[in-house]
């Protein structure tokens, strides 16, 4: 297996092998699971197999995260530059792109051409959306990079979930405003995921549109210019989805509506759990402190990190957004999620259970220490939460 040599600060030479090197290919294979359900359906004639990916993600992944546990290892800083320059890792993010397109086209073909019961048709549409939501994750990893190639690939892959504004919204909006009440993509304590979605989805689109409008205005162009990168990606989405409707028939209209909503819902789910209640403090001049690792919830769970290009090492990602997935680090004393993302999504979908698990965990963080003034609180819940948890500071 390939290894890297480096010199530590104390002058000692080291040799490092990335034990996860080949396992990162799981992030390429994971979006293909709808095909497993389709294959089993084709083999047995039993439509229930089409729903298998739901069981894999929402029962299998949380159990595997619980069983395999966490990995807190970091690559030595002395070899990070070599890790970043190793093109194997970025090639994985390239080759998954056609697979996202093939995934949507393949599932759309099955939904459009098979006589399916209503429940399996809806289930298959949801599963297609979840798989395309993973395309947002691929676009996320690519969109943070400086190279024109990776940024263009991000815009292309974001056409699959029809979320072309995400690259601008996330890199230029969310990262700037994260863990503040001004950020539509940072959830507040006491805010359910359903209330959050109604703030996040339109708010994030408006922010991306405004950022792109300002950039184009500086260049003397209107927001409707062909240089508008949101419109470029959305045009590709429109061509793809219209093509699917023409190829596979009218049934693709409800299929694509459900697909799009659930693809977006994947991002909403991730955003909800990634910064719940966390708040950057303001200095004397009213300026927010820099984003530190403590401003994102982190998870070191092995399985779900391997299928999501290390997305769950979110604390390091937000503090250092250009760091590549293979080099993201764990730090001590981070806000830590008790399971991987898929398990935490399930918890978030049942708000009272989410509050039960997460509110105490949030208030127990060392930099908050029970002080609600250091928490991003939903204003409508402030009085109730103050009464419930009081002020210890």
């Amino acid at each position: 297996m390939k290894g890297y040599t480096g010199i530590l600060e104390n002058g000692v030479a080291i040799f490092y092998r990335d034990r996860k090197r080949w396992f990162w290919s799981l992030s390429v294979l994971y979006p293909l699971q709808p095909f497993l359900g389709i294959w089993l359906h084709a083999q047995t004639g039993n439509e229930a197999w089409l729903l298998l990916p739901l069981a894999l993600s929402y029962i299998g992944a949380p159990l595997l995260d619980w069983f395999l546990g966490e990995d807190q290892n970091n690559p030595p800083e002395a070899v990070v530059l070599q890790l970043d320059r190793d093109h194997y890792y970025r090639w994985l993010t390239y080759i998954v792109i056609p697979l996202h397109f093939l995934g949507l086209i393949g599932v759309a073909y099955w939904a459009g051409t098979q006589e399916l019961a209503w429940w399996s048709f809806i289930g298959l549409s949801i599963i297609a959306g979840i798989a395309s939501g993973l395309g947002i994750n691929t676009g996320h990893e690519l969109g943070h990079k400086k190279s024109r190639l990776e940024r263009n690939l991000a815009k292309i892959v974001l056409a699959v979930p029809a979320y072309g504004h995400f690259w601008i919204e996330h890199s230029r909006g969310h990262h700037r405003d994260v863990a503040t009440p001004e950020d539509p993509a940072s959830a507040r304590m006491g805010e359910s995921i359903y209330k959050f979605a109604l703030r996040e989805i339109p708010g994030a689109f408006r922010r991306a549109w405004d950022i792109e409008k300002d950039r184009l205005a500086r260049r003397g162009k209107t927001v409707w210019s062909s240089d508008n990168q949101i419109l470029q990606s959305l045009s590709l989405s429109a061509a793809l989805q219209l093509g699917l409707i023409i190829a596979f028939g009218w049934k693709l209209i409800p299929f694509l509506i459900i697909h799009n909503v659930f693809a977006w819902w994947q991002l909403t789910s991730a955003n909800y759990i990634e910064h719940y209640g966390l708040l950057r403090e303001k200095d004397d001049k009213g300026k927010y402190e820099r984003c530190h690792p403590r401003h994102s919830w982190n998870s070191n769970h092995v399985f779900s990190n391997l299928v999501l290009f290390h997305l769950e090492r979110h604390s390091d990602h937000h503090a250092h957004p250009l760091r590549r997935y293979q080099s993201l680090r764990h730090f001590d004393d981070l806000p830590t999620l008790p399971n991987g993302y898929f398990g935490m999504y399930l918890l978030a979908y049942v708000p009272f259970l989410w509050y039960l698990v997460m509110d105490k965990r949030l208030l127990a963080l060392s930099h908050i220490d029970g002080d609600l003034r250091k928490v991003n609180v939903d204003a409508s819940k402030n009085a109730a939460l103050t009464e419930k948890y009081g002020q210890t500071q």
């Binding site: 230029r172 990262h175 260049r219 984003c291 937000h318 503090a319 957004p321």
Partner: protein
């Protein structure tokens, strides 16, 4: 004409070149950038964080 660098990600703003993509033409003074200017590459460092090269 001066050059300023983002301490987080190494993005460089050269007053001589400006940043065409962002819509800042050659000759744009760093001081004339908006007060809420965030690094176009990482977005986690702001105008006052930039270091003169």
């Amino acid at each position: 004409m001066s050059t300023y660098k983002c301490p987080e990600c190494g993005y460089v703003f050269s007053e001589e070149d400006g940043d065409q993509y962002e819509g800042y033409p050659p000759g744009t003074k760093f001081a004339s950038l908006p007060d809420d200017f965030a690094c176009p590459d990482c977005s986690v460092r702001f105008k006052e964080d930039f270091e003169k090269v």
